[in-house]
């Protein structure tokens, strides 16, 4: 039997997509997305330390539509990864493995991360004055 025609275990896409599966994947994706976000955070601090002109350039970049889109993605990724991370900590402690509870905590994480993202953006626009 050659390497190509060996029997394979069913591929992941054979199975019906569950909320818990989707959220598990999203935890890793948001985690990876937070890395370029953190790099931009350092660049922003670096610009602020460099001087008023560099900071103005950074502020302009963040304020552009692409900047805001990235910042929105970063905010949501941050809060999702944070909330789902807390869910993981409960699992680490041995709680909430029952299917119904895992689903309910998943929905709670989506609601909480959405609410925190909105809260930060509303507060940001309020502070900025529009």
């Amino acid at each position: 039997m050659t390497a190509e025609n060996r029997p394979l275990s069913p591929h992941i896409f054979i199975y019906r997509l569950h909320l818990t599966t989707l959220l598990s994947g999203l935890h890793r994706i948001t985690g990876v997305m937070l890395i370029p976000g953190s790099v931009l955070l350092v660049l922003w601090l670096w610009a602020a330390a460099t001087g008023t002109e560099a900071y103005a350039t950074a502020t302009w970049a963040i304020g552009s539509w692409l900047g805001r889109l990235c910042l929105f993605g970063w905010t949501f990724s941050l809060f999702y990864h944070l909330c789902n991370g807390i869910r993981h900590l409960f699992w680490d402690a041995g709680h909430g493995f029952e299917l119904a509870r895992a689903r309910a905590s998943g929905l709670a994480v989506v609601a909480a991360s959405g609410a925190l993202t909105l809260a930060v953006w509303i507060a940001g626009y309020a502070a900025r004055g529009g």
Partner: protein, 126 residues
């Protein structure tokens, strides 16, 4: 002890007691990052649209500077630990995997140092 191989017992080989180090440090940095990021997100949001001087004053306040450096350190450490697992899962070639891990380790360290230096420069009024 009875399940250990004879050769291992003779050589005194056994658990290095470091098996959970990665797992534990990932959790420890995660727990630290929860309050740090909640504080950071809402503090920085309040500074949206603020002039440069206001941001410098906020970053330069001693408590904020210390917390920011702690956040940057925990952030890049946690990020590297996470990326390490991603590379271990998806890069089957050992040489490429090691290269990815080294790049992640070096860049994480560099960006953490860069962030810390920026905060210190502001805090110390350079």
């Amino acid at each position: 002890m009875a399940t250990r191989f004879t050769l291992g017992r003779v050589r005194g080989l056994g658990s290095a007691k470091e098996g959970v180090h990665h797992w534990w440090m990932q959790r420890a940095s995660a727990v630290a990052l929860i309050p740090l990021y909640l504080w950071f997100a809402f503090s920085v949001t309040a500074l949206a649209g603020a002039p440069h001087a206001a941001l410098l004053a906020w970053v330069g306040a001693p408590v904020n500077a210390v917390l920011l450096i702690a956040l940057i350190a925990a952030n890049f450490y946690h990020g590297h630990l996470g990326l390490q697992v991603v590379f271990e899962d998806y890069v089957p070639h050992e040489g490429k995997r090691l290269a990815c891990l080294l790049v992640s380790q070096f860049l994480s360290t560099l960006f953490a140092l860069g962030g810390a230096l920026a905060v210190l420069k502001i805090a110390l009024g350079g």
